[in-house]
């Protein structure tokens, strides 16, 4: 448990991706089986562990502690698991040494073997045997609140770093194996052959597209390519075989539990690649709804009946990897699509449809189509080589994405915050605003925040402006001068705009970044909120 707890402590406070990868790879290398496998499962969200209610934990603490002192402590720390880990009787002074504390695997096995009436005393016993930081890790695991900014993808990358094997290979195996993944580690360390999977109903690494860049298409014959709309949803993979039905995000996170409406409607076997959207399928003649509607359904473990009614989900299919248990990834795109069409034909009409092909004969024609798509939820076109096999990863050539151009506005820097790691001495996170009509006249209202898009040299300029023009400080945040005739104008590029109840301005940008520093402009030349709300109306209208 100690090694896992130490890893958690470091991961929580390490902002950089590379730093996290180093910590993870070191952990997987140095920790024995089966602990590391359970650690991996805990980080990547695949650990099945008996859960404990916070109320029981509180009861356990109060068996030994004055409730007033506990309340003072909880008020100060603000997190129940952390408070309990810190105030638990015994403290740090008489801990059992690291080698004799329960191992992560013991904790998992023990918890999962308990009957209902045994949980209380077992948890008490474990809290007594663990040190402060291990107690914290244990409490986070059993309350199911492990939020440490490590995705399954990152964990797989760390396994790849540690072993030299490819991420797609690891990814495929991963979903066919269960914790503690001993055969996986044996193979990663070269001690055993690659494990053989029993079923295709697992996650397979997805094929990705490259953005179209200047000159890319000129060399290519449009007749060799097919085009589809690029819908603004999330990429998913549906796997179904032998009664096992799963829905995965494009990074391999299992999101089955959040989409019972889609998964419950699967009546076919195979592995399908597609876009998850909300609204109605093309076949049901209901409109596809926006990404912000889809967001209502994302990042949830479970879903209410009302959510299912208000935001019905469906999958717009565009590729087939396995037909039943037959791997057809080596077939051409058109052949796979033909077989996919047959499957979708027989699937429930309200939950599945087939992504349309967009006919075109020249690249110029496709460019015109891309700029003016027929549906506001389309964000461009996908271009796929007709004879391309399905290959995991981002190869240059077979698949392209050609998005409509980003939106741009001129906004005024309002607040700045220091960055992390390499940027900890720079003001590199900027909140920017635009002009809005208020009862007191025109004022700047914040509309978003961006922390990339600029070069290192531009960051020097931005940072200097912040330091020289600070008018107020709120903890780590500085307010800067932003007046009609003095301030810093930023050209902000973004992918889309949503209505937001959380932001005062009523709008939220997607993927905003600093496109240019507009040293040539004054704040009074910046855009107005009405420009943004007009974009919103254009989209929904």
């Amino acid at each position: 448990m100690k090694a896992f707890a130490t890893l958690l402590d470091r991961l929580v406070l390490t902002p950089s991706r590379n730093g996290k990868l180093t910590l993870l790879a070191d952990y997987f290398r140095d920790t024995p089986d089966p602990d590391r496998g359970y650690g991996l499962a805990a980080l990547a969200g695949g650990l099945d562990l008996k859960s404990v209610k916070p109320a029981m934990l509180r009861d356990l603490v109060l068996e030994r502690m004055d409730p007033v002192l506990f309340q003072y402590s909880y008020d100060y720390v603000g997190d129940l698991a952390e408070t309990i880990s810190l105030v638990w009787d015994g403290g740090a002074k008489d801990v059992i040494d690291d080698d004799h504390q329960p191992r992560l695997s013991e904790v998992v096995t023990k918890m999962n073997s308990l009957g209902r009436t045994e949980v209380r005393s077992a948890v008490r016993d474990l809290l007594d045997k663990l040190d402060t930081s291990s107690r914290f890790a244990f409490l986070k695991l059993v309350t199911g609140a492990l939020r440490i900014g490590v995705s399954a993808r990152l964990a797989k990358q760390a396994l790849s770093d540690m072993s030299g094997k490819d991420v797609p290979e690891i990814e495929t195996l991963w979903h066919g194996l269960i914790p503690p993944y001993e055969p996986l580690f044996a193979w990663l360390e070269g001690r055993a052959e690659k494990p053989v999977l029993a079923t295709p109903a697992i996650f397979h690494s997805v094929m990705l597209a490259n953005p179209v860049e200047t000159g890319d298409l000129e060399k290519l014959d449009p007749a060799d390519y097919a085009a589809e709309w690029k819908w603004d949803g999330i990429r998913v993979q549906m796997s179904s075989y032998g009664g096992i039905k799963k829905l995965y995000s494009r990074s391999g996170d299992d999101i089955t539990g959040a989409f019972p409406d889609v998964v419950g409607s699967i009546n076919f076997e195979g592995v399908i690649d597609g876009e998850l959207l909300v609204g109605g399928t093309a076949r049901s003649n209901n409109p596809t709804r926006t990404f912000s509607d889809l967001q209502q359904r994302l990042n949830r473990k479970t879903v209410t009946g009302k959510m299912l009614d208000d935001y019905p989900a469906f999958v717009r299919a565009y590729d087939l990897l396995f037909e039943s248990d037959l791997d057809i990834r080596a077939e051409s795109f058109l052949e796979r699509r033909r077989r996919l069409g047959d499957i979708i034909q027989g699937a429930p009409h309200d939950r599945f449809d087939l992504s349309d092909l967009v006919p075109f004969t020249t690249w110029d024609e496709l460019d015109r189509i891309r700029i003016a798509p027929p549906d506001p939820v389309i964000e461009g076109v996908m271009i796929k080589r007709k004879d391309s096999p399905y290959q995991a990863g981002r190869l240059k050539g077979p698949w392209f994405k050609w998005k409509r151009d980003p939106y741009n506005i001129d906004a005024v820097m309002l607040y700045a915050q220091r960055g992390h790691g390499k940027r900890s001495s720079y003001y590199s996170d900027f909140t920017f605003g635009v002009w809005a009509e208020t009862p007191d006249g025109e004022e700047l209202v914040p509309v978003g925040k961006a922390y990339f898009g600029f070069t290192d040299a531009e960051l020097e300029v931005l940072d200097k402006f912040v330091r020289d023009n600070t008018v107020d400080r709120f903890g780590p945040v500085r307010a800067v001068r932003a007046e009609r005739d003095f301030g810093f104008v930023l050209e902000v590029a973004f992918e889309g705009i949503n209505r937001s109840t959380r932001h005062k301005s009523g709008v939220a940008m997607r993927f905003p970044r600093i496109a240019r520093l507009r040293l040539d402009k004054l704040p009074r030349d910046a855009d107005r909120l009405s420009t943004l709300t007009a974009m919103l109306d254009a989209k929904t209208g």
């Binding site: 406070l13 004055d66 402590s73 100060y76 220091r418 900890s424």
Partner: protein
Amino acid sequence: MKPEALLHPTPAGLFCPIGRFHVDPVRPVERALITHGHSDHARAGHAKVLATRQTLDIMRLRYGEDFCGEEQAAAFGEEIDVDGVRVSFHPAGHVLGSAQIAIEKDGLRIVVSGDYKRGIDPTCAPFEPVACDVFITEATFGLPVFHHPDPKDEIDKLLTSLKQFPERSHLVGAYALGKAQRVIRLIRDCGYSEPIFIHGALAKLCDYYAGQGIDLGDIRPATIEKSSPDTFKGAVIVGPPSAFQDRWARRFNEPLIAFASGWMMVRQRAKQGGVELPLVISDHCDWPELLSTIKEIGPSEVWVTHGREEALVRWCELKNIPARPLHLVGYEDEGD
């Protein structure tokens, strides 16, 4: 005599009307008795100052020659008469020169402990319990959540990180007086003998500690040498935490921010401060040390000064020890 007649809180700090002196006053006064050199306790501008030799030296280093009108040095254990009140200084184990002050009149003894700790610290004299009627304790870490671990385990975290991230400059935040020197000494005690680089703000105090016989090993200023930009790769640099957010920190390669402080016990505190590697090293008592000190001294009354008074007062109530908070203002735990 009631204890309040001998010593009571005033806006300027604790005041003894009989001896006409203040303890650790927060504004200039006629006569000040100072427990230790941290800037919230030791301020410049008093007419007369009575403190240990080391505390006086530290005040001079920080505020200059004219930090007070007239100084008087107190040796540990020496009894000094101040206008009919008997005072004596005893080690507090907080930082170099730190003292508790015992104040006695007509058989009533009050001990002002100042800031203190019970853990081992090779950079200062260890805390000495003094029997008394009223014990005035700090409560900086006066909550049951605070359990300071063995500082050497914390330094091991730093040394492990140096191995894991050999490219990155490890910036260790530590307050200039006491903590910085203790951390450097601890790093040495854990077997690290490479040069340690320090921010300019630490130079005078590190020199002073070395002059007082506390060996800090090879200490170098963290100034840029144009000839070798790689000097700081994988190096340990100690400086005041505020400097790490300053342009000063840009000279370092992918800096990894560590912070040596008792506050680092709470993850959210570390996270808010942008600290990647929290080192729980404190110059104050943790919760169990506060409780064991009160039990050991066994005063008939406990007064709680700055920090988390309410929890410690609550604990005393549960143990039937009369206790009250003094609500002193102006002490900002600079030392941690």
